[in-house]
Symmetry: none
Subunit: 216 residues, 4 copies
């Protein structure tokens, strides 16, 4: 299963005109609605087009194949998510690490929680495409943002920032996903969210008290 070259998976035309952008968003929203309504297996391009109020032909004007549609949707979604994280990171520049961790977890968790059903449905639609490059790009972007943030921490200077950063991100992303996929009840989801912050903080505390970080 070789990945198709990403060029094939990008919208055919740059949304230079407002009209195109609107249509694009309508299609994305329709895709999500169909995903929610009938699941990824029974999603058909015709159904999406219908829901979007355009013809299949038009859909194919924007996306050369079904995969491109999924790819575009994920990209759209991940771009928005990455932006939120970057924004949060910039806002926390120079803050103490504990605030950073809390903000990071909260931002990510809230973004996912905003439309929890969409989150779940997107997690599952992933199979339909080879989205590793997408995930990787997202990861890199976030990685850079959080690394920069942690490097600016007021209270600690990390000796091995990259490992710590990777660990935190892997843990946070993974935990959130697990919590959503298991469809934990609200109360438990909240509890886990709080504990996750606690856990990350105690981890950083521990790291600081050993050779991997030192007080500034």
């Amino acid at each position: 299963m070789a990945s198709k070259p990403p060029t094939h998976l990008t919208p055919r035309k740059k949304p230079r005109q407002a009209r195109a952008t609107v249509t694009l968003n309508v299609i994305f929203e329709a895709t999500i609605q169909v995903l929610l309504a009938v699941g990824p297996r029974r999603l058909t391009t015709t159904r999406v087009a219908e829901r979007a109020g355009v013809s299949v032909g038009t859909l194919y004007q924007y996306f050369p194949h079904k995969q491109a549609l999924f790819y575009g949707l994920n990209q759209h979604y991940l771009d928005g998510l990455a932006e939120k994280i970057e924004y949060a990171c910039r806002a926390l520049h120079g803050a103490p690490t504990s605030q950073m961790v809390e903000a990071l977890v909260t931002t990510y968790w809230n973004a996912k929680n905003e439309r929890a059903d969409v989150t779940r449905v997107l997690y599952r639609s992933v199979v339909e495409l080879d989205n590793e490059p997408l995930i990787e790009a997202f990861a890199c972007r976030v990685d850079a943002a959080t690394a920069a943030m942690f490097a600016s921490a007021a209270d600690v200077a990390f000796t091995d920032l990259s490992v710590i950063n990777l660990t935190l991100l892997t843990t946070i992303f993974g935990t959130v996903r697990s919590a959503f996929e298991r469809n934990l009840p609200d109360a438990e989801r909240h509890a886990v969210q709080k504990q996750l912050i606690l856990m990350c903080n105690s981890y950083l505390e521990q790291v600081r008290s050993t050779s991997n970080g030192r007080l500034k």
Copy 2:
């Protein structure tokens, strides 16, 4: 112990005879091979049957649908995994928590790592079916095992074991999944594994030093 899936998702006949069990395993293995070779989207029942060296008809004698095949495969896989974890938990009975955490993470990680490609492919095959009940059953089983283990810890008595247990499991399962799905290079994967243990332990340390647990 075992999950209670909708009857139509269970193998049609109980493998009473050795022959049937063998065939079942052959089919499972073939499914994984096809999954690895062509991905979930292009997996067809015919292809699986071919690879397994049986006829489609036979495949359908064991699984009434394609979905049942996926369901069965996941069940098979999760049953094996749960068993390993239960075994590890029993072995750690009465040990100090730090050993428990280390054993838990290592067991889980190794189980996944043994056949990393299979792990990845199964994570992705999920789209094809509604496996929430399966996941739930697995989670319950593991939850019970680890809760019992932590309750027996030599060094700490937890006041709010259930939340702590849930947090640990969600974190560990999620982190491992993230690490595998992102296909991290071996070195980084190892590093994260080590850090995860560290993180969990510092979390428990922290918990113990506050109101949620006390030294025995």
Copy 3:
């Protein structure tokens, strides 16, 4: 007038455009040809589509199932037949009963005889579907037409028209069917046709001479 079949057994799209109507007729004709060529058991949607010179996909655009195809064909056929009968009935309005009977039998018999092989094949295609509602609708339509005709008879006023009408129709339809299904040689078929007219007429004569009808 038209039967009210379960929606799922009706052509998917109303033939609004001439093109669609043409295609529909082509498909019906192809179905009959296939029925004649290989029989109902070996009729496949693919074969019908091939014979019709369209793709299977197109066939399924007009008929959501194989059953709907049979249903549609029967409806088409029965509609045509009913029309002919209604026409004949109107033409005989006010005539003497003996002419009515003769016209009714002849019309029906000729309609069936026009394409005797098609008649036979349609009688047999019935197994494939639950066409009782279709038959019922046809029967009602014809019943109304003949009842109106007989009520207008110049020579007799029937006291119990509904029973007599039902008897005549049941007899005529049944006899014709029997004659076709047994594939009687032409000479015998003709003889039976003539005798059937005789029989119906002597029946009406008898009815008139007893309490069920009186001379006008």
Copy 4:
């Protein structure tokens, strides 16, 4: 659709032993039950065997293919029916024609009515096989019986017995079939039955009063 040579359609072994005959009847009954339960389209040999309490293998010992099963069933059924008619005909030897007609219609109608659902189901199962030879054989047998009966009539000597006989049989068989297939309510079915007798009798009366028959 050429008919298979009848030899292929006859039970493989003559039921010389009581056991075999019993099994045969069990299979026939099971076939009818399945026909009633799921219809001809979803009748499978496996289902019939299951219902009959034997294995498919055994079923195939008695009938070399599915068609042979249907063929056998119809033969069995028609044999019984023919016997009843023959018996009635012999009993009416030398009686007046009006009694003959009444007995003939009543016997046939009652035989069909005894298990009306079975009658209906058999009428419809016909499509599954090329049973013209069967029907023909049945027709000949009955034809002979009724012809002999009518020839012995106390009151009339027919000049053209064969046409009259054919007409009567075609009419009676056809009318009964029509009445059953349209699933007429009991009251109407009865009424038609009575009228049919009346009709046949007035037909014979008419025939006698013209050149085709003369008073003895």
